[in-house]
Assembly symmetry: C2
Homo-oligomer: 304 residues x 2
Amino acid sequence: MTPDRIAIDWIAVDWGTSNLRVWAMGAEGILAHASSDNGMGQLTRDQFEPALLELIAPWLGAGETTVIACGMVGSRQGWHEAPYRAVPCAPLDRSGLVRVPVQDARIAMFIAPGLQQTRAADVMRGEETQIAGALALHPAFDGVMCLPGTHSKWAQISAGEVVSFQTYMTGELFALLSQHSVLRHGMVGTGWDDAAFDAGLSDALSRPDRIGAQLFTLRAEGLLAGLLPESARSRLSGLLIGVELAAAKPYWLGQPVTLIGAEALCANYARALLAQGVTARTLPATECTLAGLASLALQLETTP
Amino acid sequence: MTPDRIAIDWIAVDWGTSNLRVWAMGAEGILAHASSDNGMGQLTRDQFEPALLELIAPWLGAGETTVIACGMVGSRQGWHEAPYRAVPCAPLDRSGLVRVPVQDARIAMFIAPGLQQTRAADVMRGEETQIAGALALHPAFDGVMCLPGTHSKWAQISAGEVVSFQTYMTGELFALLSQHSVLRHGMVGTGWDDAAFDAGLSDALSRPDRIGAQLFTLRAEGLLAGLLPESARSRLSGLLIGVELAAAKPYWLGQPVTLIGAEALCANYARALLAQGVTARTLPATECTLAGLASLALQLETTP
């Protein structure tokens, strides 16, 4: 159902590789929400504006509405490149916003850039907005933010800036191994086994150098010892998160940690960190994304 | 071209998941060779005998010809299960051979079983035949055999027996990451860079616990520092082989090592081991497979 015309202040857009999500924002917060599977990965350059308008047109009035987007939409293969900003820097800044030329005069379109690090080489797009949002929600935070996902990010935060960050391909490795490798035969279904997760985690954290030997064991135990699919999948998750935590130890050891991401995934990371004596706070990803984009909207308003 | 009927002693068969390869064997060695892509993974149970006959029919005479196969054809999902033999044991033994019922009276069909290990749980099918062949070629060998591939195997050999073994998913991880992960964008082509391979190897061997952080760097260096596709691919190979060698250190440290496998891949492993002070001998995989199957043919002849 198309909503009636609503009085909105600006439009928030999270435009990743696979999905497009938009929110109509007013003084009180979210007024309306819509989404589609027109992710950046499916679109050619001239398809971006129509894909956006398809979702937000009902919200537009006679005047110009500010639209602020983050995510892969700003990559070189996206709608319009928003060049990375180099850390150390604040996760988002008005000065980095890129104004995108559009056909439809009803929108003023902006894309927020990602962050880059020269050494060790690393990049992020989208997560900087979640970090900015987490900082907007908790301005005094100094410590480490972890954003688990396809490509997990660990970021060291100090005085409102991202000092350094590091990416782990944990989510993508899990998807490849559990769905596309020989291990998939022993991981059918979606069940979960906390004890198996903990065992994998403990194995990988105590001997991360042996990860190479621990993967095929899941297949062999399925064949020889009747390892259950849910146990195999949970142990694989534990092994991969364990290897990530082992390498990210300089980030989380003795630091306040904030997790930002999907609830179930963050719960696994929190459980893993707790086993290492670290109590992490969790913030929902969407709330952080919106708070980050809102901080830009506010800066745009005050420095037109 | 179908060869004229040849006088053969027996037929050797290497039947893996993706391919079927057959050799007509005589007193002097190989008399003829054929292959097809009728791997075990493509066939239902009643398609195995026709797929085999399609290749070997021209070689069959009036009498019964012995056919000996190794590989995934003997798995539970294959033609006929040949139950694993438990290590420690000789890699192949006449007593483990499974006679397969067939329709065509011209063949006496046997499948060689694989090996299993209870702790740490592990299995192999096909590699045991290569190990047996390597031992037939070098009967006095005591030390370690490494069979690099999709699933690399390391086996400790003593007094003609496999004492223990361990599987690493290195080849499959390389294929998944280089062809199906985000890293594929920076690895187009087939070029090679020895220095990048060595660098990845050295990184992974010195800090295997940091492998989680080293993968995405390949993508980021491609975006930010113009890392060449051949360098990215070679460094990924070095990282993954390095993690394998780190975990397999108890196998190769201070041991005579024999590599069995494809020439280019074995050369990479030999280069990697040499950097650790280990000089490895390399044996060609097919020669070992045939020598292993021949050792069974000989046992069948002498103990009918």
